[in-house]
């Protein structure tokens, strides 16, 4: 995709959300021979800023820095387990092409209502969940995995729909031993909302 559009004033920027940092993501980045900026967000601070609730999540930013599409759950049709290379949904790729060709006239550019729906205002529980998650991550990365659990669980309870909080925590511990569940069970938990919300490319101009 990037190869196809790179001469059209278009760039892909990937942001890896991984507390384990470079060691965890470097093999993927190297295997994929990425040519675009591949950034590392170890504290999930930028993911927080963009209200990413699961990965992969994609955003469009225009030339001037305005956000024009937010939080598309572009769950890959295919992911190569060795290289991490992701083959994006064809409809989504067509939407990207449309935007690159037409800019703000593209039907896929979201209006305010569309953006608000994708990045709803946070409440105090949401930001409290983020505080517990950040503290848990710090403790886990400093050798206090058992202490981290308490804080991770508090984060999960306050913001069950945030899958990044869960998946990051599970990857730093053991989901069955530490959280008394399995991935399959957790995905079915109605409180968490859909793990894979459908990709909605509908007409957001009408809001």
């Amino acid at each position: 995709m990037r190869q196809e559009l790179k001469d059209s004033n278009f760039e892909v920027v990937t942001i890896a959300c991984d507390a384990k940092g470079r060691a965890a993501v470097e093999p993927f980045i190297e295997a994929a021979h990425q040519m675009h900026p591949s950034l590392l967000d170890e504290k999930l601070a930028v993911a927080e800023l963009y209200d990413v609730r699961n990965v992969p999540a994609a955003f469009w930013i225009d030339e001037t820095g305005r956000m024009v599409r937010a939080n598309d759950p572009i769950y890959a049709q295919k992911r190569n387990r060795e290289t991490g290379e992701v083959t994006l949904n064809r409809e989504y790729m067509d939407a990207v092409r449309d935007w690159v060709a037409k800019g703000s006239a593209s039907d896929y550019v979201m209006n305010e209502h569309g953006l608000d729906a994708r990045m709803p205002a946070l409440d105090s529980d949401d930001v409290q969940a983020a505080a517990f998650f950040q503290l848990g991550t710090y403790l886990a990365m400093h050798g206090h995995s058992a202490d981290a659990l308490v804080h991770f669980k508090r984060a999960h309870a306050r913001r069950p729909e945030n899958w990044t909080y869960k998946r990051q925590a599970w990857s730093l511990g053991d989901i069955e031993r530490d959280y008394g569940t399995t991935f399959q069970e957790a995905v079915k938990d109605p409180a968490s909302g859909p793990f894979y919300p459908p990709l909605d490319l509908g007409d957001h101009r009408k809001g």
Binding site: D18, L122, W170
Partner: protein, 143 residues
């Protein structure tokens, strides 16, 4: 007095003279500034162009005199500015998130929030420097 680690959004500071009293975190004014950038002034608690006045009703909960000078309870200040925080008693680690005026307004301008992040070689990049092209920002993880 005991040591504590304060994670104030993106910065990490070890302070040696904290007074941790259950759910409170009393800091010397020097440690306050070192860990958070906030300074106690006659007009309130200030950083850059922002000054948060200490309301009379909460002043006693916020500021008191200790053996080694004036102390400020950072948790009370966090409540005052609607800042979420979390505390691990065993390790004496405290995390403080964004102030209310930051988390309540973060997207009102519709501008994509700027950031600075390293690439895998450690070189920092900002969103501002990447602008000028249409950008597809893709968050992913190995987990």
């Amino acid at each position: 007095m005991s040591a504590a680690t304060i994670l104030y959004q993106q910065s990490e500071t070890r302070v040696e003279d904290a007074e941790e009293d259950g759910t409170k975190l009393w800091l010397t004014l020097a440690d306050l500034t070192a860990a958070t950038g906030w300074t106690l002034k006659p007009e309130g608690v200030c950083k850059d162009e922002i000054c948060v006045p200490a309301p009379d009703a909460r002043r006693a909960a916020l500021i008191r005199d200790g053996a080694s000078g004036t102390l400020l309870d950072l948790t009370e200040f966090a409540r005052l500015i609607e800042q979420p925080f979390a505390h691990d008693e065993k390790s004496s680690v405290w995390y403080f998130g964004p102030a209310g005026w930051e988390w309540k307004t973060k997207l009102s301008s519709r501008r994509a929030p700027d950031f600075v992040l390293p690439d895998i070689a450690g070189k920092p990049h900002t969103l501002a420097e990447l602008l000028g092209k249409k950008l597809l920002i893709l968050f992913w993880a190995s987990w």
